[in-house]
Homo-oligomer: 318 residues x 2
């Protein structure tokens, strides 16, 4: 019996999803017990293909990967973000096609099954739109009672959005899904753009991945190439934000947030200009982070540790 | 003929409105040529009474004060903020009742008349809900062509709101009014909570006002007393944010903003959780402030100068 934390990963693989996946596979704190995919950066089906291929390359073909929702709660899939993640979702890199196929269960069912198998211990990490989570919660409202914690990359508290002035892509792609996840009775750690934009992987660190002896780790370095171009105008140099990887690192307790108050979060599910915004109540926090009583969602606003260093060294040592 | 800038002030007097008024009267750069009031901190009628009484005490009874909108564009006046501004709007301080009465024209008509009288030179400073501005723009869509510039205290860009998690009170009290002002074809300088919360009047500076030989200036110091209590839990000491005064100071070029990009601003006019938010597009500004082409609204995000010092010394010298 492993004493590592069992993790179900819900993702839309995706360049930074690939990096998060590599970290979760390498972290000694984590046992990745299942992956569900959802449309976001690419389609749920393509995300599953990418995940299966990467897992095989990493020697982890035994981990089940289930295809989740293609369309979102109140609108169909909109075509993803090929300008960010490449046409195939992983920066145009051709990873060898694995023999493995998706688990016949859907992602929501896989999550529910794992929540029984690892009842009380399962950690859920979401790094894509939260559609599968909403479906699982609808199918079994008792799901939260069997889940130890949820870590979610999504939203923007006081930071600018990345898909609209106020909305982050994972939440914008399914505001209803995010609202369902945040309304459920479990401990959620929300990892928004406020922190993910502040932690950057450098070209030197990407070079360390490319220099690995392991084809899987080299592939991660290659997959990041296109993404580094995308972030050039943002940061003024080839680099990347650490959106999904930071959620994975926090889930594995690889770094500890320094500012992360438990505060009310409301998702704007309207079709107005605020659609997809995570409205985080940060009033009254000038004199220091202050938890609101009874709130189970904490919003990570600051992480002081050198995230990229920890991430890369963990992947290289994995 | 004065070479001072003619200013029409639209306000809801109001504690910090009183301080802004004192500054505008004292600034050698400004000639205050008219005041319109609107419901906000208190009723439009009470705000006019407060303004008339303060102007008389200051020896400026000749400046016309017109009562503007009692109710807002899509909802009635909601009772104001007596917990912040006191029951009478000016911290419960009893200023001697002036003999002067409001100008029989409404605020919107006064603004329109002044825009003809000072065509091309008039500056508009708004420090309350923007209802009167919306009415004036509706009555005469050519108004912007006769106004040199608009400075508006309102909104929150990346800062937390003060009346909801994302909305500032002036905009929240009339989102439609704010939207009308921001949609008009004139140069608007928006002064949001992002800067007004960062500039604070201290108890020592209030003491300097209280020590003045002039009853008007002493009254301003007294009016601030209640407001200083309100801000104690926010700042950890008796003090006050400089919301309305900062807009007045910027209008008079008393300080120059250091970061103030021209960027798209959309007001959330819905009845959803984002109601009254100023949605400011600050994406792509990490490498420095960058103006969007064709945008006439600049959003003040940083002011480096010692605002409170300039404010107090101007009022004392006035």
């Amino acid at each position: 019996m492993s004493d590592r934390m069992p993790v179900y990963l819900d993702c839309d693989t995706g360049v930074d999803d690939s990096v998060a996946l590599a970290y979760l596979l390498a972290s000694p704190a984590i046992e990745l017990v299942g992956v569900g995919t959802v449309s976001g950066n690419t389609t749920a089906a393509q995300g599953a293909r990418n995940t299966l291929d990467l897992l095989a390359l990493a020697g982890h073909s035994h981990i089940p990967v289930a295809v989740g929702a293609h369309d979102h709660i109140d609108h169909p899939y909109d075509g993803g973000a090929p300008h960010v993640h490449g046409e195939n979702g992983i920066g145009g890199v051709e990873v060898p096609r694995a023999a493995t196929e998706p688990d016949p269960r859907g992602a929501a069912q896989l999550l529910l099954d794992l929540s029984h198998e690892y009842a009380g211990n399962l950690r859920v990490v979401t790094i894509g739109p939260m559609t599968n989570l909403a479906h699982a919660l609808e199918a079994d409202p008792a799901l939260p009672s069997r889940v130890a914690a949820v870590v979610t990359m999504g939203g923007a508290a006081l930071a600018a959005g990345n898909i609209t002035p106020v909305a982050e892509a994972n939440v914008y792609n399914d505001p209803q899904g995010a609202a369902a996840l945040l309304a459920a009775d479990w401990d959620v750690t929300l990892v928004p753009l406020d922190v993910t934009m502040e932690h950057v992987l450098t070209e030197e660190q990407r070079g360390m991945l490319l220099a690995s002896e392991r084809p899987f780790v080299r592939a991660i370095g290659e997959i990041l190439d296109h993404y580094f171009d995308f972030y050039l105008p943002t940061y003024g140099e080839r680099s990347s934000a650490l959106h999904d990887p930071l959620a994975a690192v926090i889930a594995a307790s690889g770094v500890t947030p320094t500012v992360a108050p438990r505060v009310p979060v409301t998702v704007d599910t309207s079709w107005g200009p605020g659609r997809g915004q995570t409205i985080v109540d940060l009033r009254g926090q000038r004199l220091g982070a202050r938890d609101h009583e009874g709130v189970r969602t904490r919003v990570v606003l600051q992480v002081d540790a050198p995230v990229a260093h920890h991430l890369v060294s963990t992947i290289l040592a994995g």
